[in-house]
């Protein structure tokens, strides 16, 4: 015991004597612990406990009922109705519409009283003159039954029909405060009496008014079709069997009693234990992978730092042996340093992580869009994270401790520093693991289910990583043989790295592990982006803005509306378009579908292939419409249009100057006829443009919208202003086709940044270690006339060696899971993220070299003759 105390004392004092190195290790261990602790607390806080759930969902009500859209259906729901489905239709005696609030309340015995939440969609004029759509809830949130559902931040609950409470998000959108008024699009004025918060959705654009306060459906509002929610106060609690009974009546029910005392899973219909287990397993697998990778990184990096420490205190450790210390004592001193710094780092990390979670709470709520539950710190889980952190420190010290315990005391005392070179062997185990890992990833690629495949790919990836780590010393050793033709300093660096594989390998391994992860993700992200781009179906030509009418427009106001919208956009030309026959967008009786028959489509991927995203029938218009559609004047097409011919934009859509048009009714029965036509190049979203005369053969033309051809991509501001110009035409929607958006650039950047930090850190540690080892060599170099800058150059070359080896290996290893995963995704092809990889393999190692040169003193050391 006293021996252990002595070991701990030496470790503790040594940690204090090398504050820089200790701080580095502390930070390395604390950082992931901060991440894990805060993630755990935020994750747990985001999971509401049953009391919080009932308060937000039910207020103080005993149950909340919502009708299914079709009340003949049977509802299948879980206890808190976070997952709801419907099964077969029930008795046909019930109405197909949702049940009314009174009908719902009538289904439950013992109802004392109830309140109703009814939702309408409406729009108002913002303070900037734009038009803004939001939900109007008729809901007395001030009623005792509703306490807990909406939180009133300021003001008082509305009392009359002309008053509303608005959510913070809506207040911001409309630009109003408590006591101010805003105008609905019809001109009706509404006064804001309170600002409220919806705990379920901080971004909700909601106004809350008293029952009957919602604006009438025309002209201000539209019916959302959402069934009412009914909050019930009952004399006896609503039990789970009663909930199931309500489900059979096509009612979704959340009962206070059932949420607070959940029934066994066996009593919840549709509860799939196996599926739930597999989801939990998959989540656990991902967490394990992330935690495992983070631990591996820290073990490798901190391990290298401990190796530096052990090397620097080599003489002190030798003196312990001289004083009668056994190898186990020496091992314990180094291990104690690991345990000490691990525990301190983990404790620091846990405290900072808890603080970070508390500080990040409101940011996280905004990000999530909902309020978190109570600050849920689970001591056992934090303890587990703490233990993991402390264990990481201990684990990082294992290899250096073994090395220190085995060192040759006499050699160390004689100043011969015991640089033992390990024999160069290719570890068969590493080769086997890499092989098996690649095989498993291949199995995953071929697996049927996504979950099964992910499992194999993860396992395969882990094996490849471990195998590559085992192989790292051998690869480092081999690299030494390639150094023969290099100039002096890089040759020295490569040889030094190869001779001291014990310290080079962990640093290279750390870089490799980080780079492998980033590479895999980067390859996936760019492949995904390429896939999205390749299969992106533009609604119409990219750069075009178009307005769609969802309501029959006032014909006289149309030219003015066209000009008003066109004014706000970088317009080249704008034109009104109609649609052949009736317009199903606002005419419920319009069930016809008119399309161009294409016998053998010859469209490429990425073409709309004759889809009609804009309208359910060919468009109708003149040469201006044609110009706005295709973006330029075309004499041939304009002549054809003037001659009464249809312009067909589907490849292969015409034959011998004619196109076949099929008109199918609601029953799917179609009649075909031919029209004179010319074929134009493929135009996404539009099948054909008919001249008015030709449209007359198919029942004439109905206004469909406005097409605006732009000179450049409209800015978001221009788009917003154009949308505001549509104010008053609440049933006209503006779309701007912006083409596929480049995704994930933020993630790529974050990956690159994280990997760069790890690489620079690893290269720095390895270089520091090499400098500690190489003092005698430097003195020799100095003695034979090496310039002082040689030391800097050597440090730079050493950092470059570690970083370059690590990044190149990492890229190679990272491609394995990426290829396996992407291969099994239909329609994906492997894309190489060249810029990211080049940065990783070239720029980052060069930065590491420059950094190492910058922080190395150029003065050459004088080494005293050892005793």
């Amino acid at each position: 015991m006293s021996a252990l105390r002595a070991c701990l004392r030496i470790a503790r004092r040594d940690a204090r004597r090398a504050p820089g190195r200790s701080a580095l290790v502390l930070a390395m261990i604390a950082l992931p612990v901060i991440g894990m602790t805060s993630a755990d607390i935020l994750f747990r806080s985001a999971q509401l406990d049953p009391k919080e759930t009932v308060s937000r969902d039910l207020g103080t009500a005993d149950a909340v009922l919502t009708s299914a859209f079709d009340s003949r259906q049977t509802v299948v729901q879980n206890v808190d109705a976070s997952s709801v489905g419907t099964t077969s239709d029930g008795p046909s005696t019930r109405p197909t519409r949702p049940r009314t609030a009174a009908e719902l309340a009538g289904l439950v015995p013992d109802v004392e009283r109830y309140i109703v939440e009814h939702v309408t969609l409406t729009s108002a004029i913002t303070h900037t003159g734009g038009q803004h759509e939001f939900q109007w809830h008729e809901f007395p949130y001030g009623d005792p039954l509703a306490t807990g559902t909406y939180r009133q931040l300021e003001g008082h609950a509305p009392q009359t029909a002309g008053e509303v409470a608005v959510t913070e998000a809506l207040a911001k959108s409309l630009g109003v405060r408590v006591g101010e008024s805003f105008q609905l699009t019809s001109g009706t004025t509404v006064r804001v009496t309170a600002i409220v918060l919806d705990p379920h959705s901080l971004r909700a654009q909601t106004a809350l008014g008293i029952a009957g306060s919602a604006p009438p459906v025309k002209p201000d509002a539209r019916d959302t079709g959402l069934p009412d929610r009914v909050f019930l106060r009952t004399r006896t609690p609503v039990t789970w069997p009663e909930v199931l009974g309500l489900n059979a009546h096509g009612v979704i029910a959340v009962s206070r009693q059932a949420v607070l005392n959940p029934p066994p899973n066996s009593e919840v219909p549709g509860y799939d234990a196996a599926y739930q287990r597999s989801v939990r397993l998959a989540i656990a697998g991902v967490i394990l992978l992330i935690v495992g990778l983070a631990t591996l990184e820290v073990v490798l990096l901190a391990g290298a730092a401990f190796a530096v420490g052990a090397r620097r205190q080599a003489r002190a450790l030798a003196l312990v042996s001289v004083a009668g210390g056994e190898p186990r004592h020496v091992r314990r001193i180094v291990l104690a340093a690991g345990l000490l710094l691990g525990t301190a780092g983990a404790a620091l990390g846990a405290v900072l992580g808890t603080v970070a979670a508390a500080l990040a709470r409101s940011w996280f709520e905004q990000k999530q869009g909902k309020l978190l539950g109570h600050f849920d710190l689970r001591p056992l889980e934090i303890l587990a994270v703490l233990a993991l952190g402390a264990g990481t420190g201990l684990l990082a010290a294992v290899v250096p401790a073994r090395g220190a315990a085995r060192s040759d005391v006499v050699a160390v005392l004689a100043g011969r520093a015991g640089t033992r070179t390990t024999p160069l062997r290719i570890p068969a185990l590493g080769v086997v693991l890499v092989g098996v890992g690649i095989f498993l990833a291949g199995v995953g690629e071929a697996a049927q289910s996504a979950l099964g495949s992910a499992k194999w790919i993860l396992a395969g990836t882990a094996l490849v990583q471990i195998g590559a780590l085992i192989l790292t010393p051998a690869i480092v050793g081999l690299s030494g043989r390639l150094g023969r033709r290099l100039p002096l300093t890089p040759r020295l660096a490569v040889r030094d790295a190869a001779r001291h594989r014990g310290r080079t390998a962990p640093a290279v391994g750390a870089v490799m592990a980080a780079v492998a992860g980033s590479t895999a993700l980067a390859v996936y992200l760019v492949s995904d982006a390429a896939h999205t781009k390749r299969f992106y179906l533009p609604s119409t030509r990219v750069g075009t803005a178009y307005v769609q009418f969802a309501e029959r427009p006032d014909l006289r106001a149309l030219p003015e509306l066209r000009d008003a919208v066109a004014r706000e956009l970088p317009t080249r030309s704008a034109a009104l378009v109609g649609v052949v026959g009736c317009n199903s967008a606002f005419d419920d009786r319009c069930t016809d579908y008119i399309s161009v028959v294409v016998p053998s489509p010859t469209c490429d991927a990425g073409s709309s292939c004759g889809s009609s995203a804009i309208a359910s029938a060919p468009l109708v218009g003149d040469k201006d419409t044609l110009r706005a559609l295709i973006g330029h004047r075309d004499g041939r097409l304009e002549t054809a249009l003037a001659a009464g011919k249809a312009i067909v934009f589907v490849p292969g859509g015409t034959a011998q100057g004619k196109a076949t048009i099929e008109r199918s009714d609601a029953n799917g029965e179609g009649r075909q006829s031919t029209v004179p036509a010319v074929e134009a190049p493929d135009l996404p979203g539009v099948q054909a443009l008919f001249p008015t005369a030709l449209a007359a053969r198919f029942g004439g033309s109905t206004p469909s919208g406005i097409f605006i051809d732009t000179t450049r991509m409209p800015s978001q501001g221009e788009e917003d202003r154009a949308r505001a110009a549509l104010a008053g035409h609440s049933a006209a929607f503006l779309n701007v086709e912006r083409g596929p958006q480049p995704p994930h650039s933020g993630i790529l950047l974050a990956l690159l940044l994280g990997t760069t930090i790890v690489t620079l850190g690893a290269a720095g540690i390895a270089t520091g270690l090499a400098a500690a080892d190489g003092r005698a060599d430097m003195a020799t170099l100095s003695a034979i006339g090496a310039a002082p800058r040689t030391r800097r150059r050597l440090a730079g070359a050493q950092a470059l060696t570690v970083a370059a080896l690590g990044t190149v290996l990492g890229v190679a290893v990272g491609f394995v899971p990426a290829i396996a995963y992407i291969h099994r995704l239909p329609g994906y092809s492997i894309q190489v993220p060249w810029s990211t990889l080049l940065t990783l393999v070239v720029a980052v190692p060069l930065s590491a070299a420059v950094l190492a040169m910058g922080v190395t003193r150029s003065r050459l050391p004088l080494v005293r003759r050892a005793a």
């Binding site: 003196l319 042996s321 009668g324 004689a414």
Partner: protein
Amino acid sequence: MNPVLELRNVSRVHGQGDAAVHALRGVSLTVQPGELVAVMGPSGSGKSTLLTIAGGLDAATEGAVLVEGVELGPLPAKARAALRRRAVGYVFQDLNLVPALTAAENVALPRELDGVPGRQARADALAVLAEVDVLELADRFPDEMSGGQQQRVAIARALVGERRLVLADEPTGALDSVTGEAVLRLLRSRCDAGAAGVLVTHEARHAGWADRVVFLRDGIVVDETGPSPQPEQLLGSRS
């Protein structure tokens, strides 16, 4: 009286074949309690090797080493470490002390490693620090002490507990002559109090403190003398 240290025909060969280096060749030496033996010789003569073998830090290739009558050869490394904790103390030229420990902790280290309770180990350490007249340094760290003070603490550590054998390798090499003399006087006084000492030095005047001087050259004992040797005369023709 039983000798504290006995080397019987000890040889030490580093490496094999053509690369073999004979550091010691058939060296025999006996050190009695109360006796200070100086080992002299030019660089590479095997002086330091003799000390490392005597304390069990290194093993002889041939011959036998006995400390307090126990033969080190057959002992496993663990038992040799235990022997260093209980019977043998080293003093090197400098950097003798573990920098992270105070003087008292440095002196107590062998005792603590041996499982002696911390309080007892500290009491032992303070006692021996008092014997070597540096009790006031007990709570100082090595970098807060002068070279001479450090060597005194090192000698205290070499003698803490039951230890009776001090193996000193150029203990004054890093000190000025006055301090060096003081350190040797201390070593002499500890031997007079019953300890046995082996002092490796290449300075004849230091050897003057010893009861006997053993001369090594190329790993062989070339001469042995009693007190007041004339080393310059003995080595003059060869060095």
